[in-house]
């Protein structure tokens, strides 16, 4: 008890000192009006960050700019495609966020002036910022795979942004004859949700096994290895023998062009004519990042991992799928963890202090069947300008776990989605 009193008194003194120091350091305008933080992108990264900022400092003036009134979440959307889940379970709104003192602007941010520190909106108005956070997610590159453009995506859905595309792939799968072939085309790294294509293959196989057992699923991959590979492959053999064929890069898996009119997928070695073609194209950071000048040649955004601030443009932070996070995968979990780290760093920076080195966690669950979950986890810290894996920590579920453990991880996966959905939007 005495110790507790002592430490809380010490903490109070520290807080008071920090407050005095920040007053002394702050410019007159900062001291008079609250600091303005604008967050662009109301997904797992941006919405989490806006909330965390207000939680850390309720006096901050926080504006969340996002394109739509509704957010459709990707995690668990593979279950929608497989017919085990309603799309409504993926939909979130911003009403609760708006009641928490965050100003909500529902339109596209179109321009950014880093000198004037302003954001130009679709309706012509501008927002001023002291700090800007970008969490725009990904843009699909419709210039990277010959034949695959926006029109092609209406024939060969990517379903890599959830919503209409998810439902389109679902309908195509339902309409497919028993005995049909469905292909999933997977890009090279880096891309959103590294285990996502293989979870999708698993859940589609689960559907085919019970409903269209003569069908086949082929994965045409631009890589020779993938996330949780041994776990996925062992489970495929156990649950869906002979149903899924994975064609690696070195076996001619890389698709070099597509023809949407005939549902044709061309590799250097073969031409695959399929009933359903799920083409996941290469990706880059959401367009606004390029407009802001925070992307590099790769199309993604280099950041300082301590503050998530762009290394190219001051006062702009980039979180989530859009940033180059080193060992951290592009996941909703990562985006959420980065958002909270970024919010802390911004509050610290606005007070005139320097943020200290953080540690972040990621855990990505995948469902191989509705009651069969596997996971990969990691703990990260800044090293050489990136988030690096802490050695000895993290890794995947064990290869030889009993089914009860897989069932438990499936339950944890669902629990994770409930919890993060509530933390971000609830």
């Amino acid at each position: 008890m005495t110790r507790k009193n002592h430490s809380s008194r010490r903490e109070f003194l520290r807080a008071a000192a920090a407050a005095t120091a920040s007053l002394a350091l702050a410019s007159p305008s900062l001291a008079q009006s609250p600091a303005r933080v604008v967050v662009i992108g109301g997904g797992f990264g941006g919405a989490s960050c806006a909330r965390a900022l207000r939680q850390l400092d309720p006096s901050l003036d926080v504006t969340l700019v996002t394109a739509d009134r509704q957010y459709v979440a990707c995690p668990f959307s593979n279950e929608v495609i497989a017919g085990d889940r309603a799309i409504e379970a993926q939909q979130f709104t911003y009403e609760k966020i708006a009641t928490g003192g965050i100003k909500l602007v529902t339109q596209m941010a179109q321009t950014i002036d880093p000198q004037a520190r302003t954001v130009g909106l679709a309706d012509g108005s501008t927002l001023r910022y002291d700090r800007l956070v970008l969490s725009p997610g990904i843009d699909l590159r419709f210039d990277a795979l010959p034949g695959y453009d926006e029109a092609a995506a209406l024939r060969m859905p990517h379903a890599w942004k959830a919503g209409e595309q998810t439902l389109l792939l679902r309908r195509q799968l339902e309409a497919m004859d028993d005995g049909g072939v469905i292909a999933i085309v997977v890009p090279a790294n880096p891309f959103r949700c590294p285990p996502g294509p293989y979870e999708r293959a698993s859940l589609i196989a689960h559907y085919l096994k019970t409903r269209k057992p003569r069908s086949k699923l082929i994965i045409l991959d631009s890589k020779d290895a993938f996330s949780k590979q041994r776990l996925f492959q062992a489970a495929w053999q156990e649950l869906y023998p002979g149903l899924i064929e994975w064609v690696a890069l070195s076996q001619g898996g890389k698709v070099t062009s597509v023809d949407p009119a005939t549902n044709m997928l061309v590799t250097d070695f073969a031409t695959h004519q399929v009933q359903v073609a799920n083409v996941i194209p290469p990706q880059r950071a959401g367009r606004i990042a390029e407009i802001a000048g925070v992307t590099d040649k790769s199309g993604w955004c280099p950041i300082n991992p301590v503050s998530l601030e762009s290394t190219q443009v001051p006062n702009i932070h980039v979180i989530g799928d859009a940033c180059i996070a080193g060992a951290m995968p592009k996941s909703a979990f990562s985006a959420n963890a980065q958002a909270k780290t970024c919010a802390s760093a911004i509050v610290t920076l606005l007070s005139g202090a320097t943020p200290t080195s953080p540690k972040l966690i990621n855990t990505c669950y995948s469902l191989v069947a509705p009651d069969y979950g596997i996971s990969i986890a990691g703990v990260y810290q800044p090293r050489n300008g990136l988030f690096a894996d802490i050695e000895g920590a993290g890794g995947t579920s064990p290869l030889d776990a009993p089914r009860a453990v897989r069932a438990r991880e499936a339950i944890y996966a669902r629990s994770w989605f409930e919890t993060i959905g509530a933390e971000v939007f609830g």
């Binding site: 903490e11 520290r14 807080a15 008071a16 407050a19 400092d57 966690i361 802490i390 944890y412 919890t419």
Partner: protein, 95 residues
């Protein structure tokens, strides 16, 4: 003493006008926990507002493998004893 009390008083006024949460900022790693753990989560236990010593010893047991778990054994290995102590203490103060 008078100086200290005066500066404390200033600190108080400032602290209430401009909330500064530096004292309650999460220690390294702790902000990530709420991705999975919440007071309302059912399958995954709530970790907030619980006795710091209990949380600390559970995390240490995950870390040295003496307590089995699906994912926490892998995560706890990413933290030193000191870091685990700070995380447990901070979680205890959260609701």
């Amino acid at each position: 003493m008078k100086t200290l009390r005066t500066s404390l008083a200033i600190g108080l006024i400032v602290a209430s006008a401009v909330p500064v949460r530096a004292a309650s900022a999460p220690p390294p790693g702790a902000a990530s926990c709420s991705g999975c753990h919440a007071p309302t989560s059912q399958a995954i236990p709530n970790i907030y507002g619980r006795d710091a010593d209990a949380t600390r010893s559970t995390l240490l047991a995950f870390r040295n493998g003496s307590m089995p778990a699906t994912v926490m054994t892998r995560i706890a290995k990413g933290f030193s004893e000191d870091e685990i102590g700070s995380i447990a203490a901070w979680l205890a103060t959260q609701k």
